[in-house]
Amino acid sequence: MKPEDFDFISKLINEQSGLVLTRDKAYLLESRLMPVARKRGLNGLEDLIAGMRARVDKELTQEVMEAMTTNESFFFRDIKPFEIFRENILPHLLQSRADKKSFRIWCAAASSGQEPYSLAIILNEEASKLAGWRTEIVGTDISVDILNKAKAGLYSQFEVQRGLPIQLLLKYFTKQGDMWQANSKIASMVQYKEYNLLDSLLPLGKFDVVFCRNVLIYFDQKNKTKVLEGISTLLPDDGVLFMGGAETVLGISDKFKPVSGQRGVYSLTRNG
């Protein structure tokens, strides 16, 4: 790929999604965009980039965005954050929201649905404590294609084995040929919406818990700050933010501080 083509496409992707692509990621660009070029019957990446430069085909740009922003996901990814949610955050919500009996969770990069469905499973497993409660899980992603997969709730044998304990697979999924279908118990608990994290987050409404894990690592400093500050406005004083284990707010935003002993969990600094 010519350096000027790489620069053009990485700038466009950065502007539209916040994703940062350095030149050492040229292989990623090529491996993900070749299938888009093939699907459209184009002769290769040069034709694809020429089409994007012409800016006449908005769908092509959208397809490129989707190809670049889609990441593989796991059920109960990294295990620990979900244990913290079940053992620490959920009991707090049950106690502190006992009056209104409701809370909302946002998965900011829901991808193909594994994270929101993992949370729906935890809430189902704790159903006896949640009788009479209204709980909402909202999953957003910039990619329409991946959200369609999430909504379908249909996973390959390979996908369900990435993180889903066998007992939970049997309880919350039904087998359909070679695939596994999320059943209505969890599917009905999650709403999906297409959303760009760089847009104003206010239309999403308030949330008690936000999962924004392994997303900001792809953003530049300015956009990381923008997203974190945006999230902080959606949370109540005791709201919590989950980020990836390798991510940090240090030097990015002073709105959040790490919760001691709970790796990847952040609370608001305005809460003292």
Binding site: Q157, F158, Q161, G163, P165, I166, L170
Partner: protein
């Protein structure tokens, strides 16, 4: 170092599993069928068993039932690893005392995640 008994009649599968488990810092022992595996358990119970279903001489499910009945046989964490991927087989395995279930084909990530879930890592 924890010991994992790999029970599979395929030499290739045993080799692949051995490499993955050794990278996860398990000491491995191998058996080509349930009967050999049972003898290994009678001599010394491993911490973990990675278990195929269909094998000559003694199947995985027969081995599991007999092993669970041995003194100390409730201790090993048993992870089935088989091409049998229907719900009936999975339920039968759990009822017989399996802790986890991997449907072949598998990769190192699946083994790692499943072993972590059952507290082996």
């Amino acid at each position: 170092m924890k010991t994992c008994l790999i029970v599979d009649d395929s030499k290739v599968i045993r080799m692949v599993a051995r490499k993955i488990l050794q990278e996860l810092e398990f000491e491995t022992i191998e058996a080509a069928d349930g009967k050999i595996a049972l003898e290994a358990c009678q001599s010394k119970m491993p911490e973990a068993v990675l278990l195929d279903w269909n094998m000559p001489v003694m199947s995985g499910i027969e081995f599991l039932r007999e092993m669970r009945a041995l003194p100390g046989g409730d201790a090993p964490v048993v992870v089935f690893c088989t091409t049998e991927n229907d719900i009936e087989h999975i339920q039968e395995a759990i009822e017989a005392g399996a802790n986890e279930y991997i449907m072949k084909p598998f990769d190192s990530e699946i083994i790692q995640v499943k072993f972590a879930q059952v507290g082996l890592l």
